[in-house]
């Protein structure tokens, strides 16, 4: 109800193209995400789903197309018809509102769990040390990592590292959370703990975009599924429709393959 004045969608992705040299990875994708909604992007490896996610917070600069977050143009400024790329400082200010969780965790090995979470709020938002630590402790509790708060990343399992990485993103108090295959680098027995944390966050009503291989999980957590193939969206809709009654032959083949494995 607090968002009365912000009637538009949280995230708008408009006709994004992305090429690496000769290779066109994204060939014009659009998506819209309303507040509190969750979209899962699925597809075979190499289909461009990670690139699409990374374009949302300008980790990759799209070759063309535009992103709007909360009604504000992301990564660019506009005057009339001219779009100018933002400098890194302005970009950093916008990125601070988007949390990102990576496949490879990328915790900073020279900082313990608490500092990994606290350093962002301290340096980016200028929080005091005590305040940032308090925030970090609260976020680590959310991902059930309070007991490892003083540990350095190398002493944590992959699943634990990923949960700290989620806490780090949560500490940004982001408007939007991006998950880039958060469980792909994990041993099978560690996947569950991470998925549970993500599910809890989803139930809190957070807005998120999730790239994943875990079809069953996507079905459970997302209210919208996008199937990406060769850089274009082939099929999308509610999970019950896309996953349970796939229309497109490519999607059927993809789902069969996933189930077999």
């Amino acid at each position: 109800m607090m968002e009365v004045g912000l009637a538009g969608p949280l995230l708008q992705v408009e006709d994004i193209h992305k090429s690496f040299g000769e290779l066109e990875v994204l060939k014009g994708v659009d998506m819209t995400l309303d507040r509190g909604h969750k979209t899962a992007i699925v597809g075979p490896s190499g289909c461009g789903k990670s690139t699409m996610l990374r374009c949302i917070n300008y980790m990759e600069r799209p070759t063309s197309g535009h992103i709007h977050l909360d009604g504000e143009l992301f990564g660019e400024t506009r005057s009339g018809d001219r779009y100018t790329p933002m400098n890194e400082k302005e970009l950093a200010r916008q990125r601070a509102h988007v949390g990102m969780v990576f496949q490879g965790f990328y915790l900073w090995p020279h900082l313990n769990a608490r500092d990994n979470v606290a350093i962002g709020p301290m340096k980016v938002r200028g929080l005091g040390k005590a305040e940032a630590n308090e925030l970090a402790e609260a976020m680590l509790e959310k991902v059930h990592m309070s007991h490892k708060i003083d540990e350095f990343p190398e002493r944590l399992s992959g699943g634990q590292q990923q949960r700290v990485a989620i806490a780090r993103a949560l500490a940004q108090q982001p408007k939007l959370m991006l998950f880039d295959e958060p469980t792909s680098a994990l041993d099978p027995e560690l996947i569950g703990e991470v998925l549970n944390v993500i599910l809890e966050l989803a139930e809190e009503g957070r807005s998120m975009v999730l790239v994943t291989h875990e079809i069953r999980f996507a079905r459970e957590v997302a209210d919208h599924v996008i199937f990406l193939h060769d850089g274009v969206i082939v099929e999308e809709g509610p999970p019950k429709q896309v996953i349970d009654k796939p229309q497109h032959e490519r999607l059927r083949a993809f789902l069969r393959q996933i189930v077999e494995h």
């Binding site: 917070n57 980790m59 890194e88 400082k89 950093a92 200010r93 916008q94 990125r95 601070a96 509102h97 988007v98 949390g99 990102m100 990576f102 490879g104 990328y106 915790l107 900073w108 090995p109 020279h110 350093i119 962002g120 340096k123 980016v124 938002r125 190398e154 990485a165 780090r168 993103a169 500490a171 940004q172």
Partner: protein
């Protein structure tokens, strides 16, 4: 025995004075080398081709020629261009430029050892590139480069001996002077060697410590 101590006090004094200069030259050159090495390693990351070529030329030139030749060129050739230079600054410039080339490679390896994802994660939480360098990349680079940096410091300490050739008043310079005035050749040179060992041994133990800690981190 008494004779020994008389000799030791007579000769030890000037040598200790030289040792102070040796330490001063080492520290000053180390500072120059770190500033050059770190700056060039960082500039290299920006990826401007022509600048990177220039850096490579500098690194290769200084790594593939004797430090004595470098010091001679600076000390004997700058006056030829109309610049007068004293032995101490000439020594620091020569050793510093030489070290800068060595440390450019050391810092580059250190920076390369850090996964690009570390930087991405920093950008993702809203850090600027400068902040990610300052809070995420450099602290880790420092940790990785500490052992090779320590080893380089030992090599540098020993390399300072060659600047006696341009009359910088360090240990070897004083040793040579003492020999000409006292003819205590054997004693003086053994004392000089011992003095270097006393300076480098603690450094070597420190490097061992860094390396052990590093292994523990991995």
């Amino acid at each position: 025995m008494e004779v020994f101590f008389t000799k030791l006090t007579a000769l030890g004094g000037p040598l200790l004075l030289g040792a102070a200069t040796t330490v001063a030259i080492t520290l000053a050159s180390l500072a120059v080398a770190i500033v050059i090495g770190l700056s060039l390693a960082l500039i290299r990351l920006l990826g401007f081709r022509p600048i990177n070529w220039l850096i490579s030329i500098y690194v290769e030139m200084f790594r593939n020629t004797p430090v004595l030749a470098q010091v001679f060129i600076i000390y004997f050739s700058l006056p030829y261009l109309g610049m007068k230079i004293n032995p101490f600054p000439a020594a620091v410039i020569g050793l510093g430029l030489n070290g800068g080339a060595m440390l450019t490679e050391v810092f580059r390896a250190g920076l390369n050892a850090i996964h690009y994802g570390q930087r991405e994660a920093a950008l993702a939480v809203g850090m600027t590139p400068w902040m990610s360098l300052r809070y995420i990349i450099l602290p880790q680079t420092w940790r990785i480069t500490l052992p090779p940096l320590g080893n380089y410091s030992i090599a540098l300490l020993k390399d300072t001996a060659v600047v006696s050739a341009i009359a910088a008043p360090e240990i070897m310079f004083w040793a040579r002077n003492l020999v000409t005035s006292t003819f205590e050749t054997t004693f003086v040179y053994i004392l000089a060697a011992l003095l270097y060992f006393c300076l480098s041994f603690p450094l070597a133990r420190m490097v061992d410590g860094f390396e052990r800690r590093q292994r523990a981190w991995q």
